[in-house]
C-alpha cells in the first residue's frame, strides 16, 4: 500500500548542519521499509478521535487541589468508556493524511492554536498500542511526518522573524546564514521562540509534550549554543516515563533521529536510549509466560513473536544510532536483561564486525542461546556471516565456528530461511575458507533443495518465494564461479540449483554465468568445467523460441560463442572437433553459433596444417577432410545466403590450402549454385558484387578439372550470375521492379568485368599467386594452344556480354560508369594494341557525348581522349 500522491507537500526543512544528509537518507529508507511491512485490515478508532478538536486546555483554570484526584479518576473513566468504531486501513490513513494537510493549512491561515491542537491530538494516537498494534509502526511514520511538518512551520516562523528588521518591518530582509549563532537572532524572534517552548512545556500529558519538544529541537539553535547534549540527555531520560515499551521504543527512534540531524556528535543520549531499551526488555521480552500484569496486557492483543516483530524496526534504528565504541556495554546489557534473538540480530547487524570477529566462537554461542523470535537463530547466524565476510574469525576459530553454525543451520526445516542463511555463510566460505568446505556446503544446499521439492509441491507462491531466495545464492555463485579454478562450476551442484528456477529466471542466471565465465576465464580443457558450461548453454539455447526478440537471440549466441572460443584441447584436435560436433547439434537454432563453429573448424584445419608444417600425413589429411565434411554439412543449415556464400569461399580456400581438391570443388560448386538465390534472400547488390570479386580472386588459384576443362567453374559462375541478374521479382510496384532489375544488370556487368580479370590472370605464363602444394592452371596447362584458345573464346564471350549490358543500359551515370569500367578492364588486362586503343577511344568519346557528358570528369576525359588519339596517331606513323 503506498502513500499515494495525495500526501501533503513536504514542508521546507530547516538547515541544521553539515552532517544531516546521510541520516536523512537513512531515515527516509527506514520509513519506506516500515510502511511496506506493517499493514492491517481494520483499525478500531475511538469516537473521540473523530470528534471535533476541543479537548486541549490552552488556558489555565483554577482548581482546588482536592479536586485533582477526582479529575484524574474522571479522565481515566472517560477513556475506558469511549466508544469505538472500525475503519479500514485506507480510511484510517486517509484520515491521517487529511489531518496532516489540515495542520499545515490552519497554520498558514493564521490559526496557529488550531494547528497545535490538531498536532497534539495526533500525537496522542501514538499512545494507543491496543486497538491495532500491528499497525503501530506505520502510524508512527505518519505521525512523525506530521511532526516534521509542524516543527518546520514553527522553525520557519521564527526564522522569518529573525530575518525581518524589527525597526523596519516592511523593509529589506536580512537572510540568516546557514551556521547562524544565537547572537544573530533579534529579540523579537528570541521571544517568539521562548514562548513556543513555554507553550509546549505546559502541555499536561507527557507523550505529546515529549514529541512536540522533539519536533521543535531545531529551534534551540535560535536560543543558545551547545545546549543539545544536555537537552537530549534529559529527553532520553524522560523516555523512561513512557511505561508502554512499544511507545517508548519508537519515541526513542524519533528522538535519536532528530538528535542525529541536529547534533550528530552528541552520542551519549543515544547510548542511554539503547541501554534503557535493553534494561526494560526483561519486563516483557519473554512473552506471556512472564505472567505479570504488564505482560498480560501486551499479549492479550498480540502474539509473542509478532509483538517482537513490531519492536524490530525500532531496535534496528536505535542500534544504528549507538556509538560504535559501546559494543561491549551493549552486549552486557543484552546478556543481563534481554537475551532475545531479534535484538541480538540487530546488534550484530549494526555494530561493525570488527568488534566481535575476534570472539567469533563466543558470538556463535551467544546466538545459540538466544531466545526465539521471527529473526530466529538462522537470522542471527546470517547477520553474523555478513559481518564475518568483511572481518573473518581468527584462523584458529574458523573451523570451529563453521562446524558449530552448520550443525544448526542444516537442521532447519524452512527452506527459505535456510537458503537465506546458507547464502551468507557461503560467501564467508568463498572468501575465507577452502574448496573443501565449499563443496561440503554446496552438497548440503542441494540436499536441502531436493528435500524441499520432494516434501511440498512448491506451488505458485511458495515456489516464487523460494526462487526469490535463491536469486542471491545463484548470483553469489556466479560472481565467484571462477574462484579456485572454477570449483563452483566444476561441482555439479550449480546445475542442480539452476534447475530449480523457472524458465526466464533460469535463462537470466545462465546468461550471467556465461558472461562472468567469458570475462574471467582463460582457455580451458577441463572436461567437467566445459561440460557444466555446455549444459548451461544448452539450457539457455533451448529456452529461446520463435517469440524471442532478435537482439536477445544475438546476445545469447554471442555468449555461447564466447564459451566455445574458450574451449581449447591443445594438440588433441580430434577432441576439439568432437566438441564442435556436439555443439552444432546442441545449438542448432542459432545461426551465429553455427557460423562460429565453421570458422573454428577452419581454424582447426589450419592449425593442423601448421603442426605438420604444411605436409599432411595420411592421418592428418583424413582429419582435415573430416573437418571440411563437418563444414560442408553445416553451411546449408544457415539461413542467410550471403553468410553461406562467404563461408563457402572461406571453406574452399581452407580446402585448397590443405590440398583437399575434391572438397574445394564441392564448396565452390555449392557456392556458385547458391548465387541465383542471393537476390531473393535479400542480399544487397553491392554485397554480391563484392563476393564475386572475392570468389574470382580465389578462382585464380583453383586448378581446372581434367573432366570438365580448365574453366568449367568460370562458365558456371557466368551462368549463375546471369541467372541472378534476371531474377523475376514479385512486386506490385513496377517502378521498383524496374529499378532493381536495372541495378542487377549493372552489377552483373561489373561482375563480368571482374571475371575478365581472373581470366586474364589465367592467360599469364605464371599466375600472380598460388597455393603451396597445389598445381594451378599455369602448371597444369602450361599455356598450351588449346588452353589459350579456349581462354580467348571465354574472354570474348564475356566481353561481348558486357557490351550487351552496356548498350542495354539506360543513359546516365550508371552507363558512364560501366563504359569507363570497360575501358579500365581493357587497358588493365589486355595488350594495348591498336584495336584496344581504338575501342577505348571510342568508348571515351561516347561517354563524353553521352547524356551526362562525363560530368565533372569532362575535362579529364578530354585529356584522356586526347592522349589516346595522340598515341593512335603516333603508332600510325
Amino acid at each position: 500500500m503506498s502513500m499515494g500522491s495525495s500526501a501533503p507537500p513536504p514542508a521546507p526543512e530547516p538547515d541544521p548542519g553539515p552532517a544531516e544528509n546521510p541520516i536523512k537518507a537513512r531515515w527516509a529508507a527506514h520509513k519506506a521499509a516500515i510502511l511496506k511491512s506493517y499493514q492491517v485490515t481494520s483499525v478500531k478508532v475511538s469516537a473521540a478521535f473523530m470528534a471535533e478538536e476541543d479537548d486541549i486546555e490552552v488556558t489555565k483554570s483554577v482548581k482546588s487541589v482536592d479536586r485533582t484526584r477526582d479529575r484524574l479518576r474522571q479522565l481515566e473513566g472517560d477513556s475506558a468508556s469511549e466508544k469505538q468504531m472500525r475503519m479500514t486501513q485506507t480510511e484510517y490513513t486517509d484520515e491521517l493524511k487529511r489531518l496532516h494537510k489540515e495542520i499545515a493549512r490552519a497554520w498558514t491561515s493564521g490559526e496557529r492554536v488550531l494547528s497545535i491542537k490538531l498536532m497534539i491530538k495526533c500525537t496522542k494516537l501514538l499512545a494507543d498500542t491496543r486497538s491495532a498494534p500491528q499497525f503501530y509502526p506505520t502510524v508512527f511514520v505518519m505521525v512523525t511526518e506530521m511532526l516534521d511538518t509542524f516543527g518546520s512551520l514553527v522553525y520557519e516562523r521564527i526564522k522569518n522573524k529573525a530575518e525581518v528588521n524589527p525597526e523596519n518591518p516592511d523593509g529589506k530582509r536580512k537572510r540568516l546564514p546557514r551556521d547562524f549563532e544565537p547572537s544573530d537572532i533579534n529579540v523579537d524572534a528570541c521571544e517568539t521562540c521562548r514562548n513556543w517552548f513555554y507553550k509546549i512545556a505546559s502541555v499536561r500529558e507527557v507523550l505529546p509534550r515529549l514529541y512536540l519538544e522533539m519536533c521543535l529541537l531545531p529551534c534551540y539553535k535560535f536560543l543558545s549554543k551547545g545546549e543539545y547534549p544536555k537537552v537530549l540527555a534529559r529527553m532520553a531520560a524522560t523516555l523512561r516515563g513512557l511505561g508502554d515499551p512499544l511507545v517508548s521504543a519508537y519515541a526513542g527512534v524519533y528522538l535519536t533521529k532528530m538528535g542525529g540531524v541536529m547534533a550528530p556528535e552528541a552520542k551519549e543520549y543515544a547510548d542511554a536510549c539503547v541501554q534503557d531499551y535493553l534494561t526494560r526488555f526483561s519486563d516483557y521480552g519473554d512473552g506471556p509466560s512472564l505472567n505479570t500484569s504488564k505482560a498480560k496486557r501486551i499479549y492479550e492483543n498480540v502474539e509473542h513473536h509478532e509483538y517482537l516483530h513490531l519492536h524490530s524496526p525500532a531496535v534496528d534504528w536505535l542500534m544504528s544510532q549507538a556509538s560504535p565504541s559501546t559494543f561491549k556495554s551493549v552486549i552486557k546489557g543484552y546478556r543481563d536483561n534481554c537475551g532475545n534473538s531479534m535484538v541480538l540480530g540487530w546488534i550484530v547487524d549494526k555494530f561493525s564486525a570488527r568488534n566481535y570477529s575476534e570472539n567469533a566462537a563466543a558470538m556463535v554461542t551467544l546466538a545459540r542461546q538466544a531466545k526465539a523470535s521471527r529473526t530466529g537463530l538462522l537470522g542471527v547466524f546470517g547477520k553474523l556471516a555478513r559481518g564475518f565476510q568483511a572481518f573473518p574469525p581468527p584462523q584458529e576459530q574458523r573451523m570451529l565456528v563453521l562446524n558449530e553454525v552448520w550443525k544448526y543451520v542444516t537442521k532447519c526445516e524452512d527452506i527459505t530461511s535456510y537458503i537465506a542463511c546458507a547464502t551468507e555463510w557461503l560467501e564467508v566460505v568463498l572468501l575465507h575458507y577452502s574448496p573443501l568446505e565449499l563443496s561440503v556446503l554446496m552438497r548440503d544446499i542441494v540436499k536441502h533443495l531436493q528435500r524441499a521439492e520432494g516434501a511440498s509441491s512448491t506451488s505458485g507462491g511458495q515456489g516464487e518465494e523460494l526462487a526469490r531466495a535463491l536469486d542471491p545464492l545463484v548470483q553469489l555463485l556466479v560472481r565467484h564461479s571462477y574462484d579456485y579454478n572454477g570449483a563452483i562450476l566444476k561441482g555439479g551442484e550449480l546445475l542442480q540449483i539452476l534447475d530449480k528456477f523457472k524458465n526466464s529466471h533460469k535463462a537470466d542466471h545462465s546468461k550471467e554465468l556465461l558472461e562472468t565465465f567469458n570475462k574471467n576465464s582463460e582457455e580451458t580443457d577441463d572436461p567437467v568445467l566445459i561440460n557444466t558450461l555446455f549444459e548451461v548453454s544448452r539450457a539457455l539455447h533451448d529456452s529461446l523460441d520463435s517469440l524471442t526478440p532478435e537482439g536477445e537471440q544475438r546476445h545469447v549466441a554471442s555468449l555461447i560463442n564466447g564459451f566455445i572460443e574458450k574451449v581449447n584441447f591443445g594438440k588433441d584436435f580430434e577432441r576439439q572437433l568432437n566438441t564442435y560436433v556436439e555443439c552444432r547439434s546442441a545449438f542448432s537454432n542459432l545461426d551465429d553459433v553455427k557460423e562460429r563453429l565453421i570458422l573454428c573448424t577452419n581454424r582447426l584445419c589450419m592449425r593442423t596444417l601448421a603442426m605438420v608444417k604444411g605436409r599432411h600425413s595420411k592421418k592428418t589429411q583424413a582429419f582435415v577432410k573430416g573437418c571440411l565434411a563437418f563444414n560442408h554439412i553445416t553451411v546449408p543449415s544457415i539461413e542467410s545466403v550471403l553468410t553461406r556464400l562467404n563461408l563457402l569461399v572461406y571453406c574452399g580456400w581452407v580446402g585448397l590450402r590443405n590440398t583437399c581438391l575434391p572438397q574445394t570443388d564441392t564448396f565452390l560448386k555449392a557456392a556458385i549454385s547458391l548465387v541465383p538465390e542471393a537476390g531473393a534472400s535479400g542480399a544487397a547488390v553491392g554485397e554480391v558484387v563484392r563476393w564475386v570479386g572475392n570468389f574470382c580472386g580465389l578462382l585464380v588459384m583453383v586448378p581446372g578439372s581434367p573432366e570438365f576443362g580448365p574453366f568449367y567453374l568460370m562458365h558456371a559462375l557466368i551462368k549463375a550470375v546471369g541467372k541472378w541478374a534476371s531474377t523475376d521479382e514479385e512486386s506490385s510496384n513496377a517502378a521498383v521492379v524496374a529499378m532493381n532489375a536495372a541495378a542487377r544488370n549493372h552489377a552483373k556487368a561489373k561482375c563480368l568485368m571482374t571475371m575478365v580479370g581472373t581470366c586474364s590472370a589465367w592467360g599469364q605464363k605464371k599466375l600472380p599467386y598460388g597455393c603451396a602444394g597445389v598445381d594451378s592452371n599455369d602448371t597444369l596447362y602450361g599455356g598450351g594452344k588449346d588452353y589459350m584458345e579456349e581462354l580467348g573464346e571465354l574472354i570474348k564471350g564475356i566481353l561481348g556480354e558486357v557490351v550487351v549490358e552496356i548498350e542495354a543500359c539506360a543513359e546516365g551515370a550508371m552507363k558512364d560508369e560501366l563504359m569507363l569500367g570497360f575501358c579500365e578492364t581493357l587497358l588493365g588486362y589486355f595488350d594495348r594494341d591498336d584495336v584496344c586503343l581504338k575501342v577505348v577511344k571510342n568508348m571515351v568519346k561516347k561517354v563524353e557525348k553521352g547524356g551526362t557528358g562525363g560530368g565533372k570528369w569532362k575535362a579529364w576525359l578530354a585529356q584522356v581522349r586526347g592522349a589516346l588519339e595522340k598515341e593512335v596517331q603516333s603508332r600510325a606513323q
Binding site: L72, V206, T279
Partner: protein, 309 residues
C-alpha cells in the same frame, strides 16, 4: 493622510515588557489623530497594585482594599496641538516603589494578584469620545540577598506505612509499594526548570501515571478577610490551589528505573516566595502516584522559589 479614527498605542522598549526595580521603564506613546486637535499637557501613569480577594463564599465586610505599590505619572507631551496622522512621543521613568517601599513581583494568583499597568487617558471634551489605552508590564524582583549557591535537595521515600491519611490498622489493606526519589532543589530558582527524579522500586499494583503538581499556597491576613480582629496578629486564612499539573509518566513504568521530574515554572503564575504582613504567597510541589485501580498516593513538598540577580 487622515486616519479613519483616532487611537492611542503604548509601546514599551522591551519586547518582553519585563523590568526590574531600579531600571528605567521607557517606550513611546503614539497617538493617531484624526484631523488633529489641541490638547493640554499629556501624561502616562504607571500603577502597580496588589489585589487580595476573599476566599470562600463569605463576602461579609465587602472587598479587601487593594494596596498601591507604584504610582508614577510622567508628562510625555506639553500642551500643544496634535498634528493629523501619527504622533509619537517617547517617555521614561525610573521604576521604584511608592514611598521608597519595595516593589513586589508581578503575579497572577487565585486570591492574590500583583499587576502593573501603564495607562494614558485623553479627555477631549464632552462631545468627543475619550481616548484611552492601558498596557500591562511585568516587574521582576530579584532577591537582595546574595545569590543562592547551595542547593538544598530533598530526598523522599513513600511506602504504605508512611502514608499519613491512612489508619495504621488499614495499612495492610493498601497494596504494597515503595516509591523513592528526590527533588534536586527545594529552594528553587524561578528562572530554571524544577527538576528531580522518582523511582517506583516496588509496586504490587500496576502504575497508571505519575503526576507533578505545582500548588500555590496563598495566605491572607485573617483580619483583612473577616473585616475585624487584630490586624497585627499573624493569623492567616490559607487557600491551596493548583497552578499546573504535568504528567511525568504514563503507564506502568519499569521498577527501579528513575523517571525524571521536570517542570518549567510558568511565568507570571509563579513568583518568588513572598511573605508580607497582609499576605503570603508560597508554593508546594505534589508528587502524585496513581495506581491502576484509581488509588492515588500524594506526597507534598514545600518548596521556596527565588529569583537571583
Amino acid at each position: 493622510m487622515n486616519p479613519e479614527h483616532s487611537s492611542i498605542e503604548i509601546t514599551l522598549s522591551r519586547f518582553d515588557r519585563i523590568y526590574r526595580p531600579g531600571e528605567t521603564v521607557s517606550g513611546s506613546i503614539s497617538i493617531t489623530a484624526k484631523d488633529g486637535w489641541s490638547h493640554p499637557a499629556l501624561t502616562v501613569t504607571a500603577t502597580g497594585t496588589a489585589t487580595l480577594s476573599k476566599p470562600g463564599d463569605d463576602k461579609a465586610g465587602g472587598e479587601i482594599p487593594p494596596r498601591k505599590l507604584l504610582e508614577e505619572t510622567v508628562e510625555f507631551a506639553p500642551a500643544g496641538k496634535l498634528a493629523m496622522g501619527v504622533n509619537r512621543f517617547p517617555f521614561s521613568f525610573p521604576l521604584k516603589g511608592l514611598g521608597g517601599k519595595m516593589l513586589l513581583e508581578t503575579y497572577h494568583g487565585a486570591y492574590v494578584s500583583v499587576n502593573y499597568h501603564l495607562a494614558v487617558v485623553m479627555e477631549r471634551g464632552r462631545m468627543k469620545r475619550t481616548l484611552e489605552k492601558q498596557v500591562e508590564f511585568i516587574v521582576e524582583v530579584p532577591m537582595t540577598k546574595k545569590s543562592l549557591d547551595e542547593a538544598v535537595p530533598l530526598p523522599f521515600e513513600i511506602t504504605p506505612k508512611s502514608l499519613t491519611n491512612v489508619k495504621s490498622t488499614k495499612v495492610s489493606k493498601v497494596p504494597d509499594f515503595v516509591v523513592t526519589g528526590k527533588l534536586h532543589r527545594s529552594n528553587c530558582l524561578i528562572n530554571l526548570p524544577f527538576t528531580g527524579d522518582v523511582t517506583i522500586e516496588v509496586s504490587e499494583q500496576p502504575i497508571s501515571s505519575i503526576e507533578l503538581q505545582l500548588v500555590r499556597v496563598e495566605s491572607i491576613n485573617k483580619a483583612l478577610v473577616t473585616g475585624g480582629g487584630d490586624a497585627g496578629a499573624k493569623e492567616y486564612v490559607t487557600e491551596r490551589t493548583e497552578v499546573e499539573s504535568l504528567q511525568m509518566s504514563a503507564g506502568d513504568v519499569t521498577r527501579g528505573l528513575p523517571v525524571p521530574l521536570y517542570m518549567v515554572l510558568p511565568r507570571v503564575y509563579t513568583c518568588p516566595t513572598l511573605s508580607t504582613a497582609q499576605f503570603k504567597v508560597e508554593f508546594e510541589m505534589n508528587i502524585v502516584v496513581v495506581f491502576e485501580d484509581g488509588y492515588c498516593v500524594t506526597e507534598t513538598f514545600p518548596v521556596t522559589l527565588h529569583r537571583t540577580q
